[in-house]
Symmetry: none
Amino acid sequence: MSGEEDAKGSGEGVEDTHEAIMGATYHALCKHGYAHLTMQDIADEFDKSRPLLHYHYDTKDELMLAFVDNMIGWVGGQLAQSDTEDPLDRMEAYIDGFVIDPGEEDRETFALALLELRVQAVHNDEFRSRLSRHYENNVGTIADIIADGVEAGVFRAVDPDEVGEFIYTSLVGARMYQVTMGAQHASRRMRDALAEFVVDDLLVDGRTTGEYSGEGW
Amino acid sequence: MSGEEDAKGSGEGVEDTHEAIMGATYHALCKHGYAHLTMQDIADEFDKSRPLLHYHYDTKDELMLAFVDNMIGWVGGQLAQSDTEDPLDRMEAYIDGFVIDPGEEDRETFALALLELRVQAVHNDEFRSRLSRHYENNVGTIADIIADGVEAGVFRAVDPDEVGEFIYTSLVGARMYQVTMGAQHASRRMRDALAEFVVDDLLVDGRTTGEYSGEGW
Amino acid sequence: MSGEEDAKGSGEGVEDTHEAIMGATYHALCKHGYAHLTMQDIADEFDKSRPLLHYHYDTKDELMLAFVDNMIGWVGGQLAQSDTEDPLDRMEAYIDGFVIDPGEEDRETFALALLELRVQAVHNDEFRSRLSRHYENNVGTIADIIADGVEAGVFRAVDPDEVGEFIYTSLVGARMYQVTMGAQHASRRMRDALAEFVVDDLLVDGRTTGEYSGEGW
Amino acid sequence: MSGEEDAKGSGEGVEDTHEAIMGATYHALCKHGYAHLTMQDIADEFDKSRPLLHYHYDTKDELMLAFVDNMIGWVGGQLAQSDTEDPLDRMEAYIDGFVIDPGEEDRETFALALLELRVQAVHNDEFRSRLSRHYENNVGTIADIIADGVEAGVFRAVDPDEVGEFIYTSLVGARMYQVTMGAQHASRRMRDALAEFVVDDLLVDGRTTGEYSGEGW
DNA sequence: CATGAATGAGTTTTCATTCAT
DNA sequence: TATGAATGAAAACTCATTCAT
């Protein structure tokens, strides 16, 4: 009987608690913003006491660093998925991944959290080294898609890194506009603009991305 | 008139002091980041004491709000200049205005300060309303250039607002990548990419922007 | 008998654990000092966890009190030994017992621990009553030696308690100087001075303590 | 008019506050002991707020260090006085300075405070270097008296440093016994014993210190 | 016995703000 | 204006102690 409890109760208990702290940190960050985030704010989003945060993470900095890793890992998991081989489809999936439609508050909130960390990174070397690698991976992912497309003859011969960075930073810029200024649909308008000006331009032959304003490419 | 009030004062002293506080705030913000910015940090960049800041601005929030207005005014002054009528030249000037080359630390620092404020805006309505208008102006400026170009027959018929926002948010995204992650030349690469994929595409007829990688268009 | 109580226990396990805790407390006290001593510090010198300390001693105060008793018992054991009857030899042994030569770090450390407890005693009645008795015993021991010497006609007729306290407090003062201020050899210099000014003076007749600076009396 | 106010109001204001903090620290230290001394305890002995302590001394350590210097300075002032040239009188004054009679609670309290700091010095290099110099001065003072006495032919030829350290450490040992264990009169008994066994022995010729138990030598 | 997890009560420290001058 | 001194509120962090297992 107690064995059963152990298996559930303490088996993953620590990991559960760590996850709970990460979640509490996430919610507190979104609610208060990095600049005003206190350990108390995090504890308030947590069903445990404030000192417990220090039991698991010695300092606030250490906790925030773990949080950065956690956020990155989360995003990394999202991007990895791709169930198709077609470069155009993969590019579509990649770009669509940045679109946040009204009502998707969770995703907007998440994007904001990442943005907050990104700005802190300027003043925090540990943050920067982690996020820097993360953003390079993001650029690398789209660059790989482009490279594959070029090789497959789907895209004209362009520098995958340059165009990849162009697409990525544009998407991030639009998302920031949407998230910080409440510019609704900005990320979707960016998707459409990229389809028209970039993807369409990359396509060899007469293939086009079709209607840009609709859901499908 | 203000001289009348204070016979022994220095006439423009108040304005000077306000300017000095804005400057100190700017330097302190860049050095410490919004999250760790204290009134003492600001006073340290100033040759006056901490209480004097409160003499001029009742609270820190009020000071920061004044600082936001100050920053926006500064930028506004920059963008207004345009000594040509040619839409292509004006677009070139607009886009080039976002390029920050290595060594231009002042401009990078300034972009960072603006970015810090932008992120705070999410949690501060006063900030947001001010910055929101500012960013709409920025988009409006490039949209006007495009509209003029379309009307002049230089650019093909596109929606000026959509393309303007595309260009603007892309530029800001690239600048953020450069500023926060130390991605050198990111803003210049964005300029080149926009020239190739957007401006070139907009041009009616055989006109092109020529060499994208060089200094001139 | 205690084995009966705990069939699967290790017989003297409890005592062993108590001894281990006392040892850990001793090492932790010497390393960190009473003022900064934490239960964690003690647990760190132990191969067991912090809560186990509370299993054996309800509170920190209780543990420290047990530690005081332990320290006193330890010292008591040392002083009891005396394999001679000659008062002069016994006095020599007593005084020499306070000499700590360079390299005898263990004894210096021990003296320091006792000193720390002594100072705490000022603010802790329980400590004081225990240590007070202890120090009275120490004074009593040397007083007895003197009394025996007087009775045996070896020492001239002095008040054993007064001279005993003089010798004892002087030795402790010198040891403190050595231990707290790093005054090497201070305890040995005290031994020599006591031999010259006190013991020599006490001796009846032409007997002298001989060379003071050497090992023997 | 305002000049008058300044001269009194703010002229010595800072020094007054510093002195008040030192005084509050002293009282709090005596009341609670170093091990349990908190900034709050100090503030409680002070008519100002807790943060003000940090305004004047950045950290608790810094405050305590200033306190050590303060204590030493205090003692230094006491010892410096000597209105006679006679070595024997000066030695009498020196030794008597260590006697604390019942009722002299202030002096007992002061001795305790110094003792607390002394024990902390073992774990605090800054404390130790300061106190070490202080104690060397104390030994040096009595050694000088002895040297003068030897030169003047009042004392027989002994090593002033050795005998000085003997006298000094003995006095401190007795005072510690009195202060920590409540051994009333211990310091006075030490005075008498030193007079009988040491001073008397040092005197050349038939001069003696006379009755030891009375006030005069 | 033994421990990882958890917590309440404190401790030092920070900081925006105010006050007396 | 200008500032040194002062403070209330809250911040991060510590620590003895307890609890569930």
